[in-house]
């Protein structure tokens, strides 16, 4: 349609050739409007995303302590140091442990919730809102609630009060490492915050499954319940599932807020449960102020996350339509 309008224009022979400004503005100033609406966001992206990324790559080749305009070129030394740093490598291990915990549990719980909410007849939108509500809570606020009132180590903390009812001793949830109770705190917090959001995604996908499939299956003698779920619902959710798993993985990779607020303190961060972003934060932006080393770590992380996403997308078929699957 656009091309049709464009070819129609020269058909008016007497029209003088429009000025350069008019041509740049496009028909009905469309180009102008395009840039007016898109421009601020492009500008924002440029200033707050692209320039920092490029700058970070630049910094990673310099000895940039306490400066972002370094002069001391060090080549790949920062990368070498980062890749041989046991603390950085163990932070990658922390991410893997965290992802192994959080991705399957969030997936299973949000799917179960979506199935349940989808089936109820009454209060459907009420339940949907109730489960979705925690998503609106900030990670920082939730961390403080978890740390100070639910999982504090003294006898009157919520979790310890429950333990006391059963005659058990109070546990210092975030202070001890044997057994690593802090994972319980971290994982429950993230589950509470994000399960509702993924439940909504699953609900949307569930509602897109054509009813006719269930009717046909019923006619063919499929039993309601597990059989229908196994052979109709679950395969039909494939596209949504893949997107959700990739999103969950990327979110796990970017974990920062709850770790920092639950375990970090004025004395710094303990050497356990330290995900990559928290470690890099302390190197570059915390007291370390070593922007070269921090940037090298960030570039390594970016490359890793890109590789994981691409490989995962290939294996699981990210973005493929349900019909093709």
């Amino acid at each position: 349609m656009v091309s049709g309008a464009a070819t129609a224009a020269p058909a008016v022979p007497i029209r003088p050739r429009p000025t350069l400004g008019r041509r740049l503005a496009g028909p009905q100033n469309r180009n102008l409007w395009f840039w007016l609406f898109v421009g601020p966001f492009v500008l924002g992206m440029l200033i707050f995303v692209f320039i920092p990324i490029v700058w970070s790559v630049y910094l990673s080749f310099f000895d940039a302590r306490n400066t972002v305009t370094p002069t001391d070129f060090v080549g790949l030394a920062n990368y070498r140091q980062m890749l041989t740093d046991p603390a950085f490598l163990s932070s990658l291990g922390t991410f893997i442990v965290f992802a192994i915990f959080i991705v399957p549990t969030t997936y299973a719980i949000s799917l179960a919730l979506a199935l349940a909410v989808n089936r109820v007849r009454w209060f459907k939108s009420f339940l949907r809102s109730v489960y979705f509500l925690p998503t609106a809570c900030s990670y920082v606020v939730a961390s403080l609630i978890w740390k100070l009132s639910i999982f504090n180590g003294v006898r009157f903390g919520l979790a310890n009060t429950v333990l006391r009812l059963f005659g058990m001793d109070p546990v210092a949830w975030l202070s001890v490492t044997h057994p690593p109770w802090y994972w319980l705190v971290i994982v429950t917090l993230r589950l509470w915050l994000q399960v509702g959001f993924y439940m909504i995604l699953f609900l949307a996908a569930l509602q897109r499954i054509p009813l006719i499939l269930y009717e046909a299956a019923a006619v063919d003698g499929a039993k309601a319940g597990w059989q229908t779920f196994r052979f109709i619902t679950f395969p039909q959710l494939r596209a949504a599932s893949v997107a959700i798993v990739v999103l969950l993985l990327i979110n796990a990779f970017q974990a920062f807020d709850e770790f920092y607020n639950l375990l970090g303190g004025p004395a710094g961060y303990p050497p356990y449960a330290r995900p990559p972003l928290v470690y890099l934060y302390y190197i570059a932006l915390g007291r370390g102020q070593d922007f070269g080393l921090g940037s090298a770590g960030a570039v390594i992380l970016a490359v890793l996350i890109a590789i994981i996403t691409v490989v995962l997308g290939r294996i699981l078929g990210l973005g493929r339509r349900d019909a093709d699957a």
């Binding site: 309008a5 009905q28 601020p40 400066t67 999982f151 044997h178 004395a267 303990p270 915390g286 007291r287």
Partner: protein, 481 residues
């Protein structure tokens, strides 16, 4: 497409077009203005008057108000911040009076913020805007020193870091002490100097120490411990179903105990000639003992507030707590006379170490990116060298601190009686500089990682400490250029 042809310039008469364009132009202009305002609001508020442009000032003033409102400050503080922004705009266009931004970390004691704002407002030669920074103060200062949007004057724990000094981020304050130079403790001045130049003026001296509930110790038949073993035994005896014997921070002492443990065996972070000071195997042994304490069940862990806040001991969660002199006014309110003070005990009765407390001082420094470094220096001199009245008020009216100047400390009457007097005595007898200047953040992280693994995981202390020695040596090599 149909809609487009309706308003295309070929088919419509000129007048409606121009009206259309006017409406559009109005929209364009207003949205551009909105975008500008948005960008202006994005600029971080540094407390400094950076531009006389009305939009920017308004943005800064309104974000001032937001900051004040979100912290516990009253609404009058918010409105005064906004009006002071307006006033200073007028002042900068009328006269030569410069505006300085001064940063403090968030002191926990009530009234401290209002006090420093009062001192700043009394300064005649410049408009000083105080920024009260909650959260991770050190990191925020470090990041802000990279840009011109940071503070002119800021306080730094034990003065600016060696990397900030070597990186030229702070200005040397030569001659700022004047005749008062001999009135400041030499050790503090040395701690804040590098290559013979002073980089910060000590504000007040802070000390950490152990406080204990006299009544609880008496009930349990425990005398204040003088060795580490006695401390462990006391913690065990004082622990009941509801009260833990000892509180050294929610991390089990990782944050506060490395120094006291080093001094308790006669070691230190660095030797006076800047070599590693903790290679002695006794250090590893002493650190290893902390793991036993951690797993004994007699330590308070996971308290709602950390060691620097007096709540744990004043609410009866523990019988002994490692904390700081600054908590004394609150402790006196909550416990009356029912608390005593001791230093961290020496490791063994016959060892070469001794009892110890870490002492440190926030020092007032001037950013090299300041637009008015000389004005900033003059302000530091006015407040922390010459204005002894403000120094005395700051030291004893809110949290307790010891004034840096000896002549002012002599006038601090509230530090002359009770537990505070005992604390000052401990400071004089057992005080150690918290950390040396060349103890870099990387060394510090290596130490606390190792100590955390020793205390919590029961890792092999000898192996862990050897790794810290190696890291510290490489850091020393880096900064001793």
């Amino acid at each position: 497409m149909e809609r487009t042809s309706m308003i295309s310039s070929e088919s419509t008469p000129p007048e409606p077009v121009s009206r259309q364009m006017n409406r559009r132009r109005f929209f364009t202009v207003s949205s551009a203005a909105a975008a500008t305002a948005f960008l202006a609001a994005c600029g971080s508020n540094t407390g400094r008057n950076e531009s006389s442009a009305a939009a920017t000032t308004a943005g800064a003033a309104s974000s001032d108000a937001t900051t004040a409102g979100s912290s516990a400050a009253t609404s009058s503080a918010a409105s005064s911040a906004a009006s002071s922004a307006a006033e200073s705009t007028a002042a900068s266009s009328a006269g030569p009076k410069v505006t300085l931004a001064q940063w403090y970390h968030q002191y926990g004691e009530k009234g401290t913020q209002q006090a420093v704002e009062k001192y700043a407002a009394a300064y005649p030669n410049a408009t000083v805007k105080v920024q009260w920074i909650p959260g991770d103060y050190d990191s925020k200062v470090a990041s802000s020193l990279l840009t011109s949007g940071g503070p002119d004057v800021f306080e730094a724990g034990n003065g600016p870091s060696i990397d900030a000094i070597q990186g030229g981020q702070v200005v040397a304050l030569d001659g700022i002490l004047g005749d008062a130079a001999s009135d400041f403790p030499e050790s503090l001045i040395n701690r804040m100097s590098y290559d013979g130049k002073l980089y910060a003026v000590p504000q007040v001296i802070d000390m950490q120490l152990m406080v204990y509930r006299k009544s609880m110790l008496a009930d349990a038949g425990v005398t204040p411990p003088t060795t580490f073993d006695e401390l462990v035994a006391a913690a065990a005896k004082l622990t009941t179903a509801d009260v833990k014997g000892l509180f050294v921070g929610n991390d089990g002492g990782v944050g506060v105990l490395p120094g006291p443990v080093l001094w308790s065996v006669g070691a230190d972070y660095l030797t006076p000639d800047n070599k590693v000071g903790f290679a002695d195997p006794i250090v590893a042994t002493a650190m290893g003992k902390l793991h036993d304490l951690f797993t004994s069940g007699n330590l308070l862990l996971g308290a709602p507030t950390d060691w620097s806040d007096p709540s744990a001991i004043s609410q009866g969660l523990c019988a002994m707590q490692w904390t700081g002199l600054w908590t004394f006014p609150q402790l006196q309110t909550d416990l009356g006379d029912d608390f005593g003070v001791i230093p961290w005990p020496k490791y063994a009765a016959d060892g070469k170490g001794g009892p110890s407390v870490p002492i440190g001082a926030y020092g007032s420094a001037v950013s090299a990116k300041s637009a008015n470094p000389d004005a900033a220096k003059s302000f530091v001199q006015w407040l922390w060298v010459d204005n002894t009245e403000a120094q005395l008020d700051f030291a004893q009216s809110y949290g307790f601190h010891v004034p840096a100047r000896a002549s002012v400390a002599a006038k601090a009457d509230k530090l002359k009686s009770g537990a505070a007097a005992d604390a000052v005595k401990i400071l004089q007898d057992n005080g150690h500089a918290q950390t040396p200047l060349l103890w870099t953040p990387a060394s510090s992280t290596a130490m606390s990682d190792a100590v955390s693994r020793i205390i919590k995981d029961g890792a092999d202390p000898a192996k862990e400490m050897a790794a810290v020695v190696a890291k510290t040596e490489s850091e020393l090599k880096r900064v001793l250029k």
